[in-house]
């Protein structure tokens, strides 16, 4: 049986305090070995943009990872669907917009996608991750280990937490 091809996309600016949660997550997650039956690919960027749709091609499962001001208490894990309307800003787009761009680019439905949003509070220039952000990062990484051990859309749907 071929392995589940998982792609993890994380974004943020490591020079802006907790905004660096995405890249910090990716650096740690990338260093962990894949469990049996999973082949992971990791993509880091400053911002999520529509062309990241191309990174989803040929994958079975997608995980978006970002910092979030609103995630409570430590992280939120939810299903993402292709957006029918975009957020107003394209200062960086939402994961659903990337899925919508995938549909436009490839003319078919994107692979099942989920978002792991990690609690963030401070975004000052030159600041490291805050104390709470570091704690939330550890919890999110532990949760990711559980996700990777059950890498299927059905299993992940049962692990959704938060709004």
């Amino acid at each position: 049986m071929p392995p589940t091809r998982l792609v993890v996309l994380a974004w943020g600016n490591e020079s802006r305090g907790d905004d660096g949660l995405g890249p910090a997550f990716l650096a740690r997650a990338e260093a962990l070995p894949d469990p049996a039956g999973v082949a992971s690919t990791f993509v880091a960027d400053f911002q999520l943009q529509p062309e990241h749709a191309v990174d989803l091609d040929g994958r079975d499962l997608v995980l978006f990872v970002d910092a979030s001001r609103t995630a409570e208490p430590s992280y939120v894990f939810r299903r993402v669907e292709p957006a029918r309307t975009a957020t107003f800003t394209t200062h960086g787009v939402a994961p659903g917009v990337v899925l919508g761009a995938f549909e436009a680019t490839f003319g078919r439905a994107p692979p099942p996608a989920f978002e792991l949003a990690i609690r963030a509070e401070r975004f000052d220039l030159g600041e490291p991750l805050g104390e709470r952000a570091r704690m939330c990062l550890e919890e999110a990484l532990a949760f990711f280990a559980a996700l990777r051990g059950n890498a299927s859309a059905v299993a992940w749907q049962g692990m959704v937490r938060g709004p």
Binding site: Q49, P50, T85, H91
Partner: protein, 499 residues
């Protein structure tokens, strides 16, 4: 030259209301537009406020100089490679590398044109095309990249794949898509393999074809509504850019050329090594961002615009055939006079994207690209200036080091700063025409944003604001009391008089 300054400072603020738009959506960083109305609800004063990101210049102080090319990429999430290369060029001077090896220079050029391609594609396809394809007054739900994907899937698809191709060029030359370390003081640290070159070449001609289609699309849009496109936010100004030694368009390196609003050369082939002899910055009490101007003309007449509209008209030719043919058509459209239409930025930008695609193909066919001689050094210096034509315009990095090779002082002049006065003028023109009264509508506000987006400004060069970019409009009376307000949230919802 008669530069318009009449709206910058109202004679009196008595009896005026203030309309504030904060922040400007779909641009990097944060901005705020303030419009003072007189007692008869006519536009009396307009100012674009931008919080300039000078913090980064303090941030790099004390850091060893070799960290800079990687560190400065965090300035901008859209064009990190421009900062990477401008810093590396400044540090070339510091390590005495006055002339790079052919391989190193061509790898850097390839990286830069990959950046130009992807950034211009982002700007046109993802940020501007929704306004241009659907109209400035179209519903917000439609006027975004998802709306384009629904109604023009081929355009959206090509926008995505052009961006992706540019990112791949960057990955091959810089080592990674972000935090690349490709350019180092004195050269590059990564060679391009034959296999990498061949992979990029396989799609290079397709990118040229799609870029030609993009130029046709923007021309079609311009010609379809030529009256609006020629007049919207139009203003006359000087123009500044780098040009190559033979006067050609060169976005990686050259000397400075400035023309006046009629196209006459003000100075030419001026070395940027002492840019402060040519350009200086004015401070205005109402703005955090400085106002650069040509020293020879003074602050009243010396301000200028940078970026695609300036570059395509400042140069004598473009060294690739398809782009030069488009440049000639563009210049002919002006009928012997420079084009100052703000919306013509999009047309010029697509000509540059075509140039970038052609230049990438040329570089990929150049065997110097595959060489191994990557770094040179020479007599070190304490100060270095690097200038590059970033996607949005001229970008200056200037560093001074102490005896421990640490940054003692940094001065960065980004394209948005160069365009500061020009942006104010474009907004004024739009506000005078469309904002006359007390009624604030989404359509009216978007006209101002359309003008700002034509310049594609970074504004504060900040990156990744967590999507928290609501658009807020506030109407404040002469006494300072808010009489009306609109806020457009990140999800597109509109709230009137929000808390």
């Amino acid at each position: 030259m008669a530069m318009q300054v009449d709206l910058e400072t109202a004679p009196t603020q008595t009896g005026m209301r203030r309309v504030a738009i904060d922040p400007v959506s779909r641009v990097e960083g944060h901005g705020k537009v303030t419009i003072l109305l007189d007692a008869d609800d006519r536009v009396h004063q307009v100012r674009l406020h931008i919080v300039e990101f000078r913090g980064f210049e303090k941030f790099v102080q004390g850091r060893p100089f070799w960290e800079l090319p990687v560190m400065v990429q965090r300035l901008c999430g859209i064009c990190p490679v421009s900062h990477h290369l401008a810093a590396a060029k400044a540090l070339d001077i510091i390590v005495g590398a006055t002339r790079l090896t052919p391989t190193a220079e061509k790898i850097r050029r390839l990286m830069h044109y990959g950046q130009i391609l992807q950034s211009h594609a982002l700007h046109f396809f993802h940020l501007a095309s929704p306004d241009l394809l659907f109209g400035f007054d179209s519903p917000m739900e439609k006027r975004n990249i998802v709306g384009v994907a629904a109604e023009y899937p081929d355009i959206a698809r090509k926008g995505v794949l052009l961006r992706k191709y540019g990112q791949e060029v960057i990955r091959v030359t810089a080592g990674k898509r972000i935090h690349g370390t490709g350019a180092i003081p004195g050269g590059v640290n990564k060679r391009v393999t034959t296999e990498e070159r061949d992979v990029l070449l396989a799609d290079a001609y397709k990118m040229i074809g799609w870029s030609r289609e993009a130029v046709e699309l923007v021309k079609r849009l311009h010609f379809a509504n030529v009256g609006l496109y020629n007049s919207f936010g139009a203003f006359r100004s000087n123009m500044l850019s780098l040009v190559a030694a033979d006067g050609s368009l060169d976005l990686y390196h050259g000397d400075l050329r400035a023309r006046d609003d009629a196209g006459r050369v003000i100075f030419d082939h001026a070395s940027y090594e002492h840019y402060w002899d040519l350009i200086t910055e004015e401070v205005k009490p109402w703005s955090y961002m400085k106002f650069p101007y040509l020293r020879a003309l003074g602050p009243e007449d010396g301000w200028y615009k940078v970026g695609p509209l300036a570059r395509v008209q400042n140069c004598d030719q473009i060294p690739t055939p398809f782009a030069d043919a488009e440049r000639r058509e563009f210049v002919d459209f002006g009928g012997g006079q420079p084009i100052h239409a703000t919306l013509a930025y999009h047309w010029a930008r697509m000509i540059e994207m075509l140039f970038a695609a052609e230049e990438i193909k040329e570089l990929l066919h150049d065997d110097d690209l595959l060489g191994d001689d990557l770094v040179v050094t020479g007599a070190s210096r304490r100060r270095g200036v690097g200038v590059i034509e970033a996607p949005r315009g001229t970008l200056i990095h200037h560093y001074r080091l102490n005896a421990n090779d640490q940054v003692m002082r940094a001065n960065l002049i980004v394209s948005t700063t160069h365009n500061n006065q020009a942006l104010n003028h474009a907004i004024r023109q739009v506000a005078k025409r469309y904002l006359d009264g007390r009624t604030l509508t989404e359509g009216l506000l978007n006209h101002i944003e359309v003008a700002i987006r034509a310049f594609d400004p970074c504004l504060s060069c900040a990156t990744h604001a967590l999507g928290q970019m609501p658009l807020e409009v506030e109407l404040v009376d002469a006494a300072g009391a808010r009489v009306d307000a609109l806020r457009r949230d990140g999800d597109g919802g509109i709230a009137r008089n929000p808390e």
